[in-house]
Every structure is written in structure tokens, then in C-alpha cells.
């Protein structure tokens, strides 16, 4: 069993829709929870990170962490075609969000104009 499970998609939604992306994990030691966006042939770009449980909002993006259920989510409001990318959930048990990061397999998201 993988430490981090993520539905690979692909997920296709119309422009303006609310997108919900999710991951589950098994390692209780994870403390940092991140979402990365990766465009084709590019390196991952950090969207948001959360320490421990709770919610965090940044513009159109909201990240939620439920440590009791070992479940994390990313919501994208008013989705735009430019949001089309692969979204990777990621977690770390180390001293910071930059310590050994364990990634999900990524969800391919497509926003239809």
C-alpha cells in the first residue's frame, strides 16, 4: 500500500465550476501537507501548504486537512482554463515542508472553456 493515495483522473470540468481534489494517506507522522501544480514538461510549483490540521485559503484555492481521517483536499473556485494541469498532493514528516516529501501520483485536471 502506498503512503499517499491520489485518484489519477483525468478530471474534466467546465470553466467556472468548483473543483475538488483529494488524497488519503497512511503515515500518522506526516505534519506538513502540500499541494503542487505541475504543467506539462515543467517542475512542480507549490500552491499551498498546511501545518497539521485545519483549513487554509489563498484566493480561489482552499486546502483542508483532516488528520483524524488521514484525508486532505484542495478546492478550486471559479476554475479557469489556465488551471488545467496535474495536481500533486504531497506530505512531509520532517522538520519542514521541504524535508523528504512524499507525493501522490497526481490528478490530471482539464478545465473546458
Amino acid at each position: 500500500q502506498k503512503e499517499v493515495e491520489q485518484d489519477p483522473g483525468p478530471l474534466s470540468v467546465p470553466e467556472g465550476a468548483i473543483v475538488s481534489l483529494n488524497c488519503t494517506y497512511s503515515n500518522s507522522a506526516f505534519q506538513y501537507f502540500m499541494w503542487y501544480r505541475q504543467y506539462s514538461r515543467k517542475g512542480p510549483e507549490l500552491l499551498m501548504y498546511t501545518y497539521s490540521s485545519g483549513n487554509k485559503e489563498d484566493g480561489r484555492f482552499t486546502a483542508q486537512v483532516d488528520k483524524s481521517s488521514k484525508y486532505i483536499s484542495l478546492f478550486i473556485r471559479d476554475s479557469q482554463p489556465s488551471d488545467s494541469a496535474t495536481y500533486l498532493c504531497a506530505m512531509s514528516a520532517g522538520w519542514s515542508s521541504a524535508s523528504k516529501i512524499i507525493f501522490g501520483s497526481g490528478t490530471r485536471l482539464s478545465i473546458r472553456p
Binding site: 499517499v4 491520489q6 489519477p8 503542487y36 514538461r41 515543467k42 517542475g43 512542480p44 510549483e45 507549490l46 501548504y49 501545518y51 500533486l88 504531497a90 520532517g94 522538520w95 519542514s96 515542508s97 521541504a98 524535508s99 523528504k100 516529501i101 512524499i102 507525493f103 501522490g104 501520483s105 497526481g106
Partner: protein, 115 residues
Amino acid sequence: DAGVTQSPTHLIKTRGQQVTLRCSPKSGHDTVSWYQQALGQGPQFIFQYYEEEERQRGNFPDRFSGHQFPNYSSELNVNALLLGDSALYLCASSSKDRVGNTEAFFGQGTRLTVV
């Protein structure tokens, strides 16, 4: 700020050969991590270097080795290449400080193809 730079961008090698990939961290960063991303998969942690020493290592064989130089740049070496080593190799840099919450910035990666 140039961000994290990696070279080369693409590379084709033959099975059994050796390869060296290079990474220059973002200005002000002193820690470099390497990841392997196979097609359709998330990146997998190979190892992390800080103060010129390997500090953490993922589940990769000894064929994968690295080095960090005094200027914080880093190399990833892979010996006896296998077809399964074909992947995007990503370098991420960060900085260790007393606060602890530092973001890892990723480079664009080196696409390695083993034939």
C-alpha cells in the same frame, strides 16, 4: 532571481552507461534534494544534501549517488543505467533556518532517456 536551474534539460544514454546531472539552487538556499518522476507518477525522493553531506535518503539503490559543493550546487550520478531509470529528474532547493517552515522550490528537471 534565476530560481533552481538544472542541466542538461534532456539526455539520452545507453544501458550500462553512467550519467551526471547538475543543479544550482535558488539564491540563498543551502539544501538540495533530488527526486525521480516516472511518466504518469508523482516524484519520488532520492536523497537530500546539506553542508555537503547526504542527510536523508529514499529507497534507491547505491547506483544513485550525489555530491554537494561548497557553493551549494549539487550533482546526481547514476551508474550502470537501466531502462527503468528513464524519468524526469527534479532538483529542489530550500534553506534550513530556525523557523523551519521553508518551501522547496523545484527546477524544471532533466529528462533522461535510457535506450
